[in-house]
Amino acid sequence: MVEVVKTLPRVTEEQKRLVALSGNEAQAEAMRQINPDVVAAYPITPQTEIVMQFAQFVADGKVDTEYIPVESEHSAMSACIGAAAAGARAMTATSSQGLALMWELLYIASGLRLPIVMAVVARSLSANLNIHCDHSDVMGARDSGWIQIFAEDPQEAYDSLIQAVVIAERARLPVMVITDGFIISHAVHPVTVYPDEAVREFIGEYEPEVSLLKVETPVTMGPVDLPDYYMEHKRQQTEAMKQAKQIILQVGEEFANFFGTKVYGFMELESMDDAEVAVISLGSSCGTVREVVRELRAQGLKVGAVKLRVFRPFPRDELVRVLAGVQAIGVLDRADSFSTMGGPLFTEVKSALYDVLVTQRHTTATQFIPLGGPKVVNYIYGLGGRDLTNEHVEEVFRELLDIAAGKPVEETWRYLGVRE
């Protein structure tokens, strides 16, 4: 069952510090304040500065964490699983090939229902060797049973990582907080940082319901699970994801009450109230899209944007309520699925809208929905660090407006900013 929202004292403005931090530094700072029991990480490329900085905190005695530098990301996640199973608050960070190497362990972490929190800096996957921003790595992990939260900037990365600890422990699911490689990870932004005591009070002490080190109540974890039980456990996992939606909203609200921030939820809307066309995207590109929406609004164009913060669990109903009244939707994907029918966000959005397209069950009270529902078009952009400019986004909005005015869509997915 989901806990009741706690009412906690608010942190005053005087207690906060405004500092210039990169995405990596902001997350390392959050980890220092969280002071996890165990951090296991692979310390070499493609590791991020998050772990480098955290290792420094360990060396300087600023945290009580048991830091385990392991020989691969596969081992990093294995060590986190072992630590979490033993009842520890375990964290790690990775990126790109490192996340890919963790793949089989991701499923074990979620299958064992261990609340591991991981900072993921989203970067492309080889080949060819690239290292730049891209969502191919995290999209490869989208069905691994982890909660996936995308942060637009270093502030959101800092806030979300603190929230992730509470979400993970309440939902008994692992959480990854995702920032865009280089664009956010290495870019310095103003970040409001809260006092250490306040962060520690917010996350509280971790008291696992079961753990291997509770010798008075011994348990076996990860036993063989044959056809007669395995499916029930998967059904439990999907139920936990369903319950996690409520938990994510509650923690967002508690966080806002406590630290005096905006209320973090599944998504953030820009000018969606009367938008005729809208763009939906993940991560840092949401900021660029917001800029363009404001420019075009100044020109009197009815455009809007949806920043999707939570990709897993996918907030289907909430998203449909927002998008159902729009005439044309552009979905920006920073990863291709190679299905030849678009990127991963596109297929999710379109699938969520299917009932609207076909039966128009999700009507909103104030808006007229044209027969057939919104047109949905996919734009695959920014692969391997390719820049997404304001001009690109404006091009998308112009095309969506044309589509809304009756221009035939033809193929529903296309690459944005690629040389023909």
Binding site: R172, P218, V219, T220, M221, L226, Y229, E232, H233, Q236
Partner: protein, 314 residues
């Protein structure tokens, strides 16, 4: 009437222990059926167990094409490769009334039908292990059982089985034609020596099965944990045993080597001394007997089958 309704589909379930060749026998049967222009499937059921653990294999046979890939729960024919499973496994579960049960046992079919309460079924018995020992020089009862299957069901001819077996063994035993001949002989003897009786009643006997009602996902512990210790003791792996260690306390020198090497903690100690074997969990691996000092010889391995025979003759 649909094509499916017109189709005759025969479903077969093999009960054996892992390592007795039931999977191979099911494969041979499917192959032989294909050779006769029939449609056939053969598939085993796999668990985590090893050699000696009770296992099942399945066949589907038909003269018409079929496409299902589901498991078999209501077989027409049951073949029991290891007779000791008759007392430990509900081998007749789901078997249709008047279905065949073919058992590897020297018992005459009337006696088997009586002893194991098989009145609603047609019961066939053949001493497949005995035949195998005489012809193949080892206990591989699957070959004579296939011969018996051909005879009582008429679903496949002995000639096809023999042709198939010969072809299968040809490459491997080119230099030892006597091996191929022995296999053909085993098939033929199974075919000739099987005896059977008709069903005595049309009504199925309701059997009490000690089945635990499995919990739904809402009730099961989160994450598949097992929330209590020592539950593996509930798994009676003693049924996997083909050989049994017999302990002679008079000869035992109490070196405790057996206790040290037993992988299943099945050596029972009292006040630091070996007093016996936990047959509920001993899998019959024989490590204890191997480790027992040759001068002491306090642990000797005896075939379970022979133990039964000794009991029966008394």
């Amino acid at each position: 009437m649909s094509a499916n309704a017109q189709r005759t589909l025969i479903e077969v379930r093999w009960h054996a222990r892992a390592g007795q060749g039931a999977k191979t026998a099911a494969n041979i049967l499917a192959q032989a059926a294909l050779r006769e222009g029939k449609y056939a499937q053969s598939f085993p059921e796999f668990g985590p167990e090893r050699r000696g653990a009770p296992m099942q294999a399945f066949n589907r046979l038909s003269d018409q094409p079929f496409y299902m890939h589901s498991s078999i729960t209501e077989p027409d024919i049951v073949i029991v490769v290891d007779p000791h499973l008759m007392d430990t496994i509900p081998v007749t579960e789901g078997l249709k009334p008047n279905g065949w049960i073919i058992i590897n046992t020297p018992l005459p079919p009337e006696e088997a039908q009586e002893r194991w309460e098989l009145k609603p079924y047609r019961v066939a018995t053949v001493d497949a292990s005995g035949i195998a020992r005489e012809t193949l020089r080892q206990d591989i009862p699957n070959v004579p059982l296939l011969g018996a299957f051909a005879r009582v069901t008429g679903l496949i001819s002995l000639e096809t089985l023999q042709k198939d077996t010969a072809q299968r063994l040809e490459k491997r035993y080119r230099d030892r034609p006597q091996v191929i001949e022995a296999n053909l002989k085993a098939l033929e003897r199974g075919y000739n020596e099987v005896k059977w009786v008709e069903a005595k009643t049309a009504e199925l006997v309701a059997r009490e099965t000690a089945r635990i009602e499995a919990k739904g996902w809402r009730e099961l512990p989160i994450g598949g944990i097992i929330p209590e210790p020592g539950t593996s003791a509930m798994y009676r792996t003693g049924s996997w045993r083909l050989e049994r260690p017999i302990f002679d306390p008079q000869k035992c020198v109490q070196c405790l080597m057996c206790w040290l090497v037993c992988p299943d903690a099945a050596i029972i100690l009292e006040n630091g001394k070996v007093v016996g074997i936990d047959y509920d969990h001993c899998k019959g691996c024989g490590l204890c007997s191997l480790q027992c000092p040759p001068k002491a010889k306090a642990l000797t391995m005896v075939l379970e089958a022979e133990l039964e025979e000794v009991k029966a003759s008394r």
